[in-house]
Every structure is written in C-alpha cells, then in structure tokens.
C-alpha cells in the first residue's frame, strides 16, 4: 500500500514536471522542470531496486547534461521564447500531434490492461554497483570499449564544431 502511495506521488510529480517542460514560455524554467523530472526519475529508480542508476542519473543527467543545457541557454541569451505561433500551412500540426499522442497512450493503456499480469520473478536481483560492475566487465566489455570511442568522438566533434574559423 505504501508502495502505491509513493509510486503514485512520484508519477504525478514526474508527469507534472514533464508538462511544465512542454508548456513553459521560458527556456530556463523548462530546463529546471527537466532537472526536477530527472531527480524524480532517480527516486523511482531507487524504488525499482536500481540504486547505482539512481546515482548516475543524478550526477550525469541532472548534473552534467543539464548544467551544459543551462550554460548554453545563458550563453546564447535565448531564454525568452517567442509565443509558438503556427506558421501558415502547418495549422493542422498541433491537433494532429495531440491526436497521435492520445492514440499512442490509448494503445499503451490497452496493451497493459489487456495483458498485464504475467508471473514475475520472485526474488529481487542484487543490483549493487559491484554487481553491475561485474556484469559490465564480464559480459559487456566490448560495448564498454565502443562507448569509450564514442565519447572521444563526441568530445573531438564538440571542440571542432565550436572552434572559431579564422
């Protein structure tokens, strides 16, 4: 029962902050709503037996990524958003997008309600950082190395893209 209260509160907070991101008129407010959403996501990870991911979520998403976002918003001075007036020829875009969103949600709700209760695993798995490290370096060494290459490429790409060409 307490689980449900906690999950319900977290879910409501998560959806509310996502709607804040969708509707806010100021890019800084939108970024702060997204930070709130990531923090709530980290708490949901803890409830779902993923403490390592919760910490990584806080430090990488809410920390590094959002600091980068807010830094760029302030660097460009782009925090004031113009009201999103629809250009002519795209007036159908908003109702169509909302209709597609409602359609996707109803499909998800139908699938979950129609076939929700398959037997779950009985005991919880050990999800400590040690266990995840063992998994990473025993079964996923090659993807780990590929990710290292990807991060290097992203770093070089970011530096090259923002370099001033004389």
């Amino acid at each position: 029962m307490t689980d449900w209260i906690v999950l319900g509160l977290l879910g409501a907070l998560s959806v509310a902050s996502a709607l804040g991101l969708l509707l806010s008129r100021n890019a800084i407010y939108a970024a702060l709503f997204l930070v709130l959403n990531f923090v709530v996501g980290a708490v949901i990870y803890i409830v779902l037996n993923a403490p390592f991911l919760a910490v990584v979520q806080i430090s990488v998403y809410a920390g590094a990524i959002m600091v980068l976002f807010i830094f760029v918003i302030m660097l460009l001075g782009a925090e004031r958003l113009t009201p999103a007036e629809n250009p002519p020829g795209l007036s159908y875009q908003r109702p169509l997008a909302i209709a597609l969103g409602v359609l996707a949600l109803s499909v998800a709700a139908y699938v979950l309600l129609a076939r929700g209760g398959e037997a779950a695993a009985t005991q919880a798995v050990d999800a400590s950082p040690t266990a995840i490290g063992v998994q990473l370096f025993r079964n996923y060494v090659f993807p780990f190395e590929v990710v290292a290459l990807l991060l290097l490429a992203a770093m070089v790409g970011a530096v090259v893209l923002t370099r001033r060409t004389e």
Binding site: L22, L48, L53, A84, A154, G157
Partner: protein, 100 residues
C-alpha cells in the same frame, strides 16, 4: 494493474509528452530537451522490466543509453551554438534552408 505496469505506463506518458514537445515546440533547445525526456522515459521502462524479471541486463543497458545521451548532448549543443552564430536564432523555422 501491478507496479511494473504502472511504471511502464508512466514511461509511455513521459515518452508521449516528449514526442509532443518535439512536434510542437519551435525552439531547438526545447526540442532537444524533449528528446532527453524521451530517452529518459525509455530508461524508465528498461529499469522497470529489469526489476520485474530480476535481471541486470536492463540496468546495464540504461547505463549505455546514458553515455550515448551525454555524447549526443555535447555534439548537439555544439551544433546549436554554431547555428546560432550564423543565424542569430534558435528557432527551427529560421533554419529552413541548408545553405549556411
């Protein structure tokens, strides 16, 4: 409805809100943040299923998704800064032509 179904439905709600943000907003930074929201929703579903089936693979996959998201943000924000230098705008409607 059990906890896993609830979290998976929450993740689909967040995903749809992110998709609506990508479709409806005009500011490149807002579109980018909505993409991050969608990635995060997918991560939530991964973690929910990892807990449901008592399997660590889902959590390891979320770890990789987070790294790729960090790389994507670095390059994407660099692109937005570069575009802002030439166009003085982050509105995607001002970027309708490919010529610089």
């Amino acid at each position: 409805m059990d906890a896993t179904s609830f979290v998976v439905f929450l993740s689909s709600v967040l995903f749809v809100i992110g998709a609506l943000g990508v479709l409806l907003r005009r500011n490149a930074l807002l579109i980018f943040m909505s993409v991050e929201l969608m990635l995060n929703a997918a991560n939530l579903a991964f973690v929910a299923f990892a807990q449901r089936w008592a399997h660590l693979t889902g959590q390891v996959f979320v770890f990789f998704v987070m790294t790729v998201a960090a790389a994507e943000v670095a390059v994407g924000l660099a692109l937005i800064v570069t575009i802002f230098r030439t166009k003085r705008s982050t509105n995607v409607d001002d970027l309708a032509q490919l010529r610089g």
